[in-house]
């Protein structure tokens, strides 16, 4: 909330701190090194990521994603350290994603983290993935106390900070927005490279026709599964042309894949902006921060910008380096809690698929 800023419990460090973060809760494996300086500033030293890309029409399955992470983990960690020119001996703590995410990929990453921790005798810090996104967003954009819209393949939440906790104001009642986009991309056979959502965004630019799709906001919550079914339904419509071309010159009343992408984006992003606006009005905040993979969508950022402007507020967004899952955000959030005296003992260094944003005690904020 705007106004008086209370004193932060996080003291400036007595010496520079270095942390490595490992992330692999979904189809990306990422490693990053962050440094916190004595004056309280931070620097991103390296941020390496590799994405497991499946052929069009297929999603990533837990088993193969975990396999991908196991194959790439060592190379990425080595690249990441080499880029900075430090060795594992120099870092203060090893941060890894504790959850939420897909079970098998999380386990592979936790295993790597545990092994490194034993090998180099470094403390482990388990990090909540969502908190990682939020803290990284605040660090990169400089937003003080924004309403956070966290949109990705596995999460859709509107979050606001209150009393050392990120409280969830609104969230999806069924599937996440990114999941809805990914699955729709599979229906119309769009490529998964670099990301299905990115290709939908490009396709949507060619769309002209806004088709009626359910608009399912419920208070501050949203629902996407019915929308997905409804857009999928249009692909069985007799006006649908999978190649996007009219069959003959008189074939005017047609629906193209581009139109579907356009309608889908316009509808679901409008819903997200609406619930974000509702949360802003409710708590009286003027800042919005968009984090998560879907947050790199320019149309969503644009719509959010218009809304913020109408309210006299400001939107903070980032590019794909920090929006999409990365190791650096885990390192940053992990180091914040490490500096507050938190670490995860080896026996408790588990991971969990279900780990809500509001379960974490945000000890480093006032």
């Amino acid at each position: 909330m705007p106004g008086r800023v209370r004193e932060t419990p996080l003291k400036n460090p007595d010496r520079p701190y270095l942390a490595i973060g490992l992330e692999g809760s979904a189809n990306k494996f990422g490693a990053g090194v962050i440094k916190h300086f004595v004056d309280g500033s931070t620097a991103v030293l390296s941020n390496v990521r590799h994405t497991y890309i499946t052929p069009p029409g297929e999603g990533f399955q837990p088993r193969f994603t975990a396999l991908h992470h196991r194959e790439w983990a060592l190379k990425i960690i080595n690249d990441c350290l080499a880029e900075v020119g430090v060795s594992m001996h120099d870092v203060d703590c090893i941060c890894y994603t504790k959850g939420p995410g897909m079970g098998a990929p999380l386990q592979s990453v936790a295993l790597v983290a545990r092994t490194l921790s034993l090998l180099f005798d470094k403390p482990l810090v388990g990090v909540n993935h969502c908190v990682g996104h939020i803290e990284m967003g605040r660090e990169i954009t400089g937003a003080q106390n924004p309403v956070v819209l966290y949109v990705s393949g596995g999460n859709t939440q509107v979050i606001a900070y209150s009393r050392q906790c990120y409280r969830i104001f609104g969230e999806t009642l069924d599937i996440a927005i990114g999941n809805c986009l990914d699955r729709f991309a599979r229906v119309i056979n769009l490529s998964n490279d670099p990301a299905p959502g990115y290709n939908i965004e490009q396709e949507a630019k060619k769309g002209k026709r806004l088709l009626p799709i359910p608009y399912t906001t419920k208070g501050m919550d949203v629902s996407f599964s019915g929308i997905l079914t409804s857009v999928e339904g249009y692909t069985f419509d007799k006006r649908f042309r999978a190649d996007g071309q009219p069959q003959n010159p008189n074939d005017e009343d047609i629906i193209t894949p581009a139109d579907l992408c356009f309608s889908l984006q316009e509808t679901i992003y409008a819903m997200l902006v609406e619930i974000t606006e509702r949360a802003m009005a409710h708590i009286g905040s003027k800042e919005v921060l968009i984090v998560g993979g879907v947050g790199s969508n320019l149309r969503l950022q644009e719509m959010m910008g218009i809304m913020a402007e109408e309210r006299g507020g400001k939107v903070f967004a980032m590019d794909e380096r920090y929006c999409i899952d990365n190791g650096i955000m885990i390192a940053h959030a992990g180091l914040l809690s490490f500096r507050m005296g938190f670490d995860t003992p080896l026996l408790k260094s588990t991971c969990t698929q279900r780990f809500r944003t509001d379960e974490v005690h945000i000890s480093w904020r006032a």
Binding site: S162, G219, R278, E309
Partner: protein, 255 residues
């Protein structure tokens, strides 16, 4: 040519900008001693596609007016309807002189100045001559009345409830000098389903816990009043509410 309702807006004073509408204080007649009305203008949202925006605005304004009328007929305390212009997105309702319930509860006024805020709260409670317990009961009762009329509010929060100011309200109650009014029916609809009523309560519960972190036990006393008023209908709704609480993603499934 601008429509008469837009002309009316141009002559009225902007009070605030809510979640989706601008709120104005206006006078329908030239006589300033006449009771003012509240105009709620769902202005065009630049971020939404014009077609989508138009249809959403029209349905919401018409739906809100319909729900208010239904509540009024069933004796639920809501503001009276004064004018409707669905195509412009304007709804005129009774002006309620009073205070939002959110301001009367701990944590409601924001977190800038906690001590100051707590004083204000107590002052307000005294001004309205009401205790937090009674306030919770009123909330429970009013929602129950609304649900018995098969109206689902859709956005129950403490910001969407008001207390009438004792100085301008004539109470027919012996000890109570104010009245709780439910406002903002922008997301409301008609339903007799147990599911919808339970979700409505769940929305309120979430709003309570996210706005008033220490007021969680208070919600329980509001629910108690609700339960009494609903009578035999409560059993099914209560059971469904427990189910609804388990929804949402990534909850730990222990126990």
């Amino acid at each position: 040519m601008t429509s008469p309702s837009l002309t009316l807006i141009s002559t009225s004073t902007l009070i605030s900008q809510g979640a989706e509408a601008k709120v104005y204080k206006a006078h329908l007649t030239a006589d300033p001693s006449d009771a003012p009305i509240l105009l709620k203008h769902r202005f065009r949202k630049g971020y939404r596609h014009p077609t989508l925006d138009g249809s959403i605005t029209r349905t919401r304004v018409a739906g809100e007016a319909r729900a208010l009328l239904k509540c009024l007929r069933s004796g639920v305390n809501v503001p009276g309807v004064r004018m409707v212009d669905a195509s412009e997105g304007i709804l005129g309702i009774e002006w309620i002189d009073g205070q939002s319930v959110r301001k009367l509860l701990p944590g409601g006024a924001g977190e800038d100045d906690e001590e100051q805020e707590e004083d204000d709260q107590i002052d307000l409670l005294q001004e309205y001559d009401i205790s937090v317990e009674i306030l919770m009961q009123l909330i429970g009762q009013e929602i129950a009345k609304m649900h018995l009329a098969d109206v689902i509010h859709g956005d129950l929060t403490t910001s969407n409830m008001m207390l009438r100011h004792p100085s301008t309200f004539k109470s027919c109650h012996a000890t109570l000098r104010t009245e709780l009014v439910l406002i903002d029916f922008g997301l409301s609809y008609h339903s007799s389903l147990v599911e919808d009523k339970a979700v409505d309560l769940y929305v309120l519960e979430r709003a309570f816990t996210s706005t008033h972190p220490d007021a969680e036990p208070l919600f329980a006393s509001a629910m108690q009043a609700y339960e009494q008023r609903m009578g035999k209908e409560w059993a099914a709704i209560g059971r469904r509410l427990d189910d609804v609480r388990l929804r949402g993603r990534k909850r730990s499934m222990v126990g």
